[in-house]
């Protein structure tokens, strides 16, 4: 560093002499005595340390920011029901596990089928369905999760077809039982045998069976809607 750097231009001789003396005094300063701790460090060394890794820090920050943005975008679109159908179904299914109901991807085909189902099963349910339309829930559902369920059902159409083949009567029992149940019916679907338990009032009504099995074929609603929805 030149003197001009310090004083910013022409410098009086006195100031020049002062800075020169100050610098000379610093140069003449004796080296500091080495204390015991430093001497030990010089003699024995120390444990190795890592140099700070900036790229790693930056990468983790980028990942965190990307995650936050993705969460906001998917969350916002999910709440608005504006995600593409399968994605909306998936998001609704995931957040449903934590008690958050989001609209499903598509629900229109469900309406027709469900309406026919409910009308054949229970007048009271049918009334409810008609008021809730177009997002009509199957009988036994309490209606609070109707939007989410309708989307979920679309996503599970293939699986539910298979289950329907295994237990044709379970849907009916679900309908009947769920009329006075909590409406979830998940346990019953998971356990077809339970649906035929007479002690629980799961008797299959012959008149209901043809109509109800297909609609409760949950995911199959959209595929069989034209036939199932026929009066």
């Amino acid at each position: 560093m030149s003197h001009d750097d310090v004083v910013g231009g022409a410098m009086p001789d006195d100031l020049d002499a002062f800075l020169h003396t100050l610098r000379a005094a610093a140069d003449d300063t004796p080296a500091p005595l080495v204390g015991e701790a430093l001497a030990t460090l010089f003699r024995e060394g120390a444990a190795p340390v890592e140099a700070p890794s900036r790229p790693g820090r930056r990468r983790s920050i980028r990942v965190a920011v990307a995650g936050a943005v993705a969460g906001l975008v998917f969350g916002g679109l999910g709440v608005a029901g504006a995600l593409p159908g399968p994605v909306q179904d998936r998001v609704a299914d995931v957040v449903d596990h934590v008690g958050v109901d989001l609209p499903g991807g598509t629900a229109t085909p469900t309406t027709t089928t469900s309406t026919s189902t409910t009308s054949t099963t229970s007048p009271s349910t049918s009334t409810t369905s008609s008021t809730v339309a177009p997002l009509v829930v199957p009988p036994g559902h309490d209606g609070t999760d109707a939007p989410g369920r309708s989307g979920e059902d679309h996503g599970r159409s293939t699986d539910d077809h298979g289950r329907a083949d295994e237990a044709p009567g379970r849907t009916t029992s679900t309908t009947v039982e769920d009329g006075g149940n909590d409406g979830r019916g998940a346990d019953d679907r998971a356990n077809p045998a339970a649906t035929r338990n007479p002690d629980r009032g799961d008797d299959v009504h012959p008149a209901n069976e043809p109509d109800v099995s297909a609609p409760d074929n949950r995911g199959g609603r959209s595929e069989c809607a034209p036939t199932c929805s026929a009066p």
Binding site: M1, D5, T21, L22, A26, D27, P30, G35, F42, A47
Partner: protein, 188 residues
């Protein structure tokens, strides 16, 4: 003026990070003298002991340092400056000791005595008196710029100020020194 470490700096720093004792010794030999001079000029009571503390702090914090030779020098003086700040705070809290029968003039604010004593080791009475007449932050700038040979930017980093503020402090310090020298009419 602080000499440059040279091309071997990166190797020495890597060896220090690996815990090699010789690397610590080399780095201390390089910067020990200017750090002690800065501490003396800043009025630290025990410049040698404080210099040891500065390097112990630096050597045990190498995992947090990132940069080259200039950056390392600035970083070490930043640690030294923080130690000076701690020392001034301790001195400000410390009660002044004076004999009960002392009837002399007021010695001034606490901490000035220590600074006066320490500046004696700079070797020149005039320089000591002129430095002691500066405000602490102006003195810090002059010492870091002249004794530690830091740039405006490095000085600003060491003091935790903006470069513009450092330039202003330096300008005021030079004006104060020029006025003092003009009033006395004597070369230092």
């Amino acid at each position: 003026m602080t000499e440059r470490f040279g091309e071997a700096f990166d190797a020495a720093l890597a060896a220090a990070r690996a815990g090699e004792g010789w690397a610590f010794e080399r780095l201390f030999a390089w910067l020990g003298r200017p750090v002690a001079a800065y501490l003396r000029g800043a009025g630290v009571e025990d410049p040698d002991g404080s210099a040891n503390d500065v390097f112990l702090r630096a050597f045990t914090s190498l995992d947090r340092f990132d940069g080259g030779e200039d950056r390392f020098r600035s970083w070490v003086f930043t640690i030294a400056h923080h130690l000076v700040i701690d020392e001034r705070r301790r001195a400000a809290r410390r009660p002044r000791r004076a004999p009960l029968d002392a009837a002399g003039p007021d010695p001034g604010p606490a901490g000035v005595d220590a600074a006066e004593e320490a500046l004696v080791s700079l070797g020149d009475e005039r320089v000591r008196a002129l430095l002691a007449g500066l405000a602490p932050d102006q003195r810090d700038v002059v010492l870091l710029r002249v004794v530690a040979d830091l740039s405006i930017e490095d000085t600003a980093a060491a003091l935790g100020k903006r470069p513009g503020a450092v330039k202003a402090l330096q300008h005021r310090a030079m004006r104060t020194l020029r006025n003092r020298l003009g009033e006395e009419g004597v070369s230092p």
